[in-house]
Point group: D2
Chain length 338, copies 4
């Protein structure tokens, strides 16, 4: 049994990790840390897990964590991980970080959207943890920058089509919609039940931090600069993310060609479900699962493709994909515990 740590266990992504890992057949939860709840039993904060996990949250200490755990998940806000990770890597631990700190190859992009990067040298070693696309690199990685939820939902449907050169990259628009858990657990007016219920709105239009993450990966895969228009929206529901992606095709093409491209690219991937028939993805179908569901339609008169993807933002969009990456890294069955 591999002993695992969750650093930052009491936010929504951290807690989702705890719930998944508690049921994982090949690992044992060894230590949970929390800045806010150090000294409090985890099941006081998430009573749903009462009777299943009896750990008490501790304040983070590298010595303690490295002593108790072999494999480390970090679910802290941006900036904190890059302060902790170099030491953990030094001590020979394998780390999956769910923040943006280790997602970028180009530190200057990170720095222009976040802050100064204090562990730049690790960016070469870190692997972007989009499990299906970077499987081979993930296998051998010691440090994973786990993808954001928006990027996951946008990259998975687009990458196969970009690699096959089917899309006019200058026309890509991603209109994404997320459940409220994506905004985190800290109380704020924007997550107040009475402000969310019956509210649907766009936010951070064309300025969202996930844009550079998406663009960097798409550019890499397309082999040329890609710069999409990305508009996130907030949906009055707890979990789920749906992205509706628009792109003109480079030439007249039929829906079956698109489907074939997606199906063959993901043929070995247990968590990608392609909707070939008349149905379309729905966040309800992926709730509490690690699936990414993908469907498409073609607006034929305009050669405009409409891709639709659905994930659970906390699972495939965060904790689930992190566990999938761990499974790949440790040679477990890719879907163990998921």
């Amino acid at each position: 049994m591999t002993r695992v740590a969750v650093i930052g266990a009491t936010g929504y992504a951290g807690a989702e990790l705890v719930h998944i890992l508690a049921g994982h057949p090949d690992v044992r939860l060894a230590i949970l840390t929390s800045r806010q709840y150090a000294g409090v039993r985890f099941d006081k904060i998430y009573p749903s897990i009462r009777g299943i996990v009896d750990l008490t949250c501790r304040r983070f200490s590298a010595d303690e964590v490295c002593d108790l755990a072999d494999f480390i998940f970090i679910a802290l806000p941006h900036k904190l991980p890059m302060e902790l990770v170099p030491d953990l890597i030094c001590r020979g631990k394998r780390v999956i970080d769910l923040s943006a700190d280790f997602r970028f190859k180009d530190a200057s992009i990170y720095e222009s959207f976040y802050q100064e990067h204090t562990a730049k040298n690790l960016l070469v070693r870190s692997v972007y943890g989009l499990s299906e696309v970077y499987f081979d690199k993930i296998k051998d990685a010691s440090l994973i920058g786990n993808p954001g939820c928006y990027p996951t939902s946008i990259l998975l449907p687009l990458i196969p089509l970009l690699k096959a050169d089917l899309l006019d990259t200058s026309t890509i628009i991603a209109d994404s919609k997320s459940g409220v858990s994506g905004a985190g657990r800290s109380p704020a007016l924007t997550t107040h039940f009475c402000e969310v219920s019956e509210s649907f709105k766009a936010y951070k239009v064309a300025e969202h931090r996930h844009n550079p993450e998406i663009d960097e990966v798409l550019s890499l895969e397309a082999g040329k600069p890609v710069d999409i228009t990305f508009v996130p929206h907030l949906v009055p529901m707890t979990r789920g993310m749906l992205s509706t992606i628009y792109a003109d095709t480079v030439e007249k093409i039929c829906r079956e060609d698109i489907m074939d491209c997606l199906v063959s690219f993901y043929s070995e991937c247990p968590f990608i479900r392609i909707y070939q028939e008349s149905m379309l993805p729905d966040t309800l179908y992926v709730k509490k699962t690690n699936f990414c569901d993908i469907g498409c339609r073609l607006d034929e008169r305009k050669n405009r493709l409409i891709l639709i993807s659905a994930i659970d933002n906390l699972v495939k969009g965060a904790a689930g994909q992190a566990v999938q990456n761990m499974n790949i890294m440790l040679g477990f069955d890719e879907s163990a515990g998921l």
Copy 2:
């Protein structure tokens, strides 16, 4: 046009007052105050009212308020009103306070559940603003202690039956359910969308502050000490309050007698709707209205009465009843603006 002030205009009860008063034919909103948002236009905080109310929130100043307004609503948390009211009353203003500060006749009850009362002498003058029951006193009052939402939903169905001596007062249980807006607008984990959605729970069981308010009024109306069991619950919805009230009848009685008692007591009351037929109250039917809907069933084998009442906690349970009281005090049509 009577000029009105709303002190504490940006909480949910205050904002509901602003929305109602903005459409009232006989008054003009003259000044809004807010501790947190002084200097900010009200329609930045509640954009729904954009184009209708263009006032900017001010910091409270008794001089300014008394200069600009003839009639004053206070929608501040407990304790603050008793510091402001004596001065406003001195200056000859009529005041409706939505907090608990002026609801009690007996200051010691207030003090045992809240804190020291610093304006005890006004408790004699203040009238408990349960509009239908204390109409005549409200007419001439200069100071109203506007009822809480839970007490409103429990007192209105019970008072006629207690006055008619139909119930065994030792057996009264009120199982009440409230929408989330009752918890106020300040962000807290308990009002976070993800913690509320799919959550139903009791809170402050048999210890809620509304208990003494209910008991004091019921005892007064019954002419003997009444001490009910009261359990509030939180419902995953924004507005609405439903109370299911259980009480044994003093003797065998039929449902029609109960109905007759309620119908005749409230025959002149435009905001009380008695359900005599098979339907029962539902919070959806009273949403955004000042109605209190009342229905009942009898568990005949046990002579146990089940009363069900529904109100909108922010309207009849707060701002709407406050405006109804203003209408009564100023001689307007009782339902003006409602």
Copy 3:
């Protein structure tokens, strides 16, 4: 007091008409008809209106309706209105129809998306009831084809910019999101609470019936054929519609120019609110109002405009705009009762 009829009063749009008209100062609800609930009091079906409207639904009879009412609203499913309207118009009544039957100038478009049109000759006389845009024609019309909710939310932000020739019409994409009430009141699996809650999905992608309605009006206003990509989505909320509209600008332009164009086009319109500052429209801000809120952002590197509009689908998207049109036709204050 003008006497009004609502034909099909018990669907969501019909009931919204009843609620609005019941509070309208210049009209009197004279007769309600319903196929399903003939003989049943309206307030048994919508108990919220108990104590306000005491009419009983009747089976439709042209004689009775024309006898009792001067002005007629029809809120029936497509196809039924075109069977009733010719007779009503013949008898000199003014009619607002909320279905698609009288929205098209070109009967063949209607026929290719719905069915044979049996009252084609009336299409010349009928006026498309987009109040702000066709105000002058509406004033004198005897028959209004009231716009659909999706078209309203898409046409209002686009028309001023198309008329000013600012947009590349071949690039227009409307990604729209609607609350569940848009699906009507008839029970169906797609509106079951457990299937809707936590569900977000696209439906009828690039095949929705509102497409031709949008395209016909846009083409007319742009003076050239316009054919947009339109994708509707379902949001787990009761009311509200938000459209996120993407279009490339014909040349480099700044956000202020867009704003100026919108503000000046709608300067006299009480129900259009343009968001010039940093805020963006939210369905919560327009709930239960007749407002259409419009905001925009510019993705400057790509000269791509992002327009965002919000309406209440049952009010500005149906019953509210219908009453606004009635106000215009009868010379009342445009916002009376709204």
Copy 4:
């Protein structure tokens, strides 16, 4: 691997069975039947299970079911099971029926609330499947009448206290609240999203069919006739059930005594969680789990006990408890697959 059948697999309880059994380590889903969806793949109806279950629903045939399966779950509406079960039992199969058909010892009670019972002779053999209370009988049973969700949530907290003779049985009131999935999957106005959202209401007050089921079991366990007052309510959420139960204690007692009684009664039970500290049960804590959480408060001045229990109505209230019973019957780990 035991081969299992689910008869009536496409209602909410049936589908929950399919989801749980699909992940059960010791059984294999062998056949699913459905009246409405015969011939349709199960994952077309519940796409969430795509990639996990690939069975096609069949029309029920006793021969086929008995040929393919060793253990049979029935999730059909009342009345249908009693027509099928005698034959299945004859053929030596073990059956768990989720309807009311085999819950009663006394056929006349069933007949006065439902209809004529056509398999009365099986009532002697059938065991009431309240897992924790009737564990020993369940072990050897060939036919289980699986408890209703309301009875489960009311019986589990009450039975230990009644057996210990701590409560005045004439004063028991159960005020229960259920999520909407309890109303089933068939579309109806009462489950329409727009009618449920923001709606909280009581229904079938003091006339609900679960009353006799509760009373029969309580009377048996108390050793004397018990007849409680039971009022169910509908909560705007998908899953979850909370019961607030009031009862006077027979003598002055402290909260610890109540707690001790519950804790010791359920000491060996993995799915009962007693809240001894200040927290109280919440439906969110048991969502998608087989737990029944129990807490209590004492209104000391009146010697009135307030018990609060929470379950997931589809899991511990239906499919989960059914699987728990199967585990007990087949000698598996009681919590296998749960």
